[in-house]
Symmetry: C2
Subunit: 162 residues, 2 copies
């Protein structure tokens, strides 16, 4: 069970977008250059973010991606689910109904106890992810990014908007 690395990429991208002026947009190509990842593959993931309503897109020159909502209203869970989906990590195939001792499906009044426990754990995982917003990640980034990197990043960004 491993999350797609697309999650890491897009969350970093959104954190970067959160630091831009409200009307600015960054293309997939530029984002990929900033993080040194495959441009086309990143674009594919950003499309999923667009479908999920997390980012807006703008075509043409000076177009690209920008946040669709305030950073405070975007949770880490929103971004994870945009890439990874909303289904529970545990899939119950009801093997209790199979085999020589299985009986008709309507005999089972409650969901499988194992599945219930797994779903509960999945729920607390999602609840925990919901607690962190993009604004939180942005603040952490501003506070903990090495000053040298901050300067390089600002210089790099300014070079795009001239």
């Amino acid at each position: 069970m491993r999350l797609s690395e697309g999650v890491e990429w897009t969350v970093h991208c959104c954190t970067l977008l959160a630091g831009l002026p409200p009307d600015a947009a960054l293309s997939a190509k530029k984002l990929a250059e900033f993080f040194d990842v495959p441009p086309d593959y990143l674009a594919k993931h950003m499309q999923q973010m667009s479908k999920a309503g997390i980012v807006n897109t703008k075509k043409g020159p000076n177009g690209g991606y920008s946040l669709a909502k305030p950073a405070r209203d975007i949770t880490l869970l929103d971004m994870v689910e945009a890439i990874d989906g909303r289904v529970c990590s545990f899939k119950c195939t009801e093997i209790r109904q199979r085999g020589p001792s299985g009986v008709s499906p309507c005999s089972y009044k409650t969901p499988c106890g194992i599945a219930r426990a797994m779903r509960k754990a999945d729920q607390v995982w999602r609840d925990e992810l919901r607690k962190t917003t993009l604004a939180d990640l942005q603040i952490i980034g501003l506070r903990e990014t090495p000053p040298e990197q901050m300067n390089k990043a600002i210089t790099w960004l300014k070079g795009l908007f001239t």
Copy 2:
């Protein structure tokens, strides 16, 4: 992100084993027959359970798998980690260090904030799984299994130990 179906199989198998007399063992073949799953593939997963110290194995006729510890001392997390591994679902590739604004690794005093949030969520997920023991699952099974299935299962099991 989806858990291997081997998790479902092995947890069900352990729950069944928990209901057997202490000295009894059930072979992978019989377990697979009980749940109607591929015997060889189930055996592969049960080997992982053996490596993790959850079940004991006994070769030869009337051999098979049996619990290595009391059901109360086996958590759902133990079984999940035996199959799925102990590594965090989120893999941080430190993309913050890459690209044109990256600086030397020693400049980063703290782990990436995104990775911290993801690891925290992974931790609460594992903590939740730790709360459920095999004994709990066994009790739930005894309470919620349809009586008709319970009878068929007992009959089936008795047929093996005659």
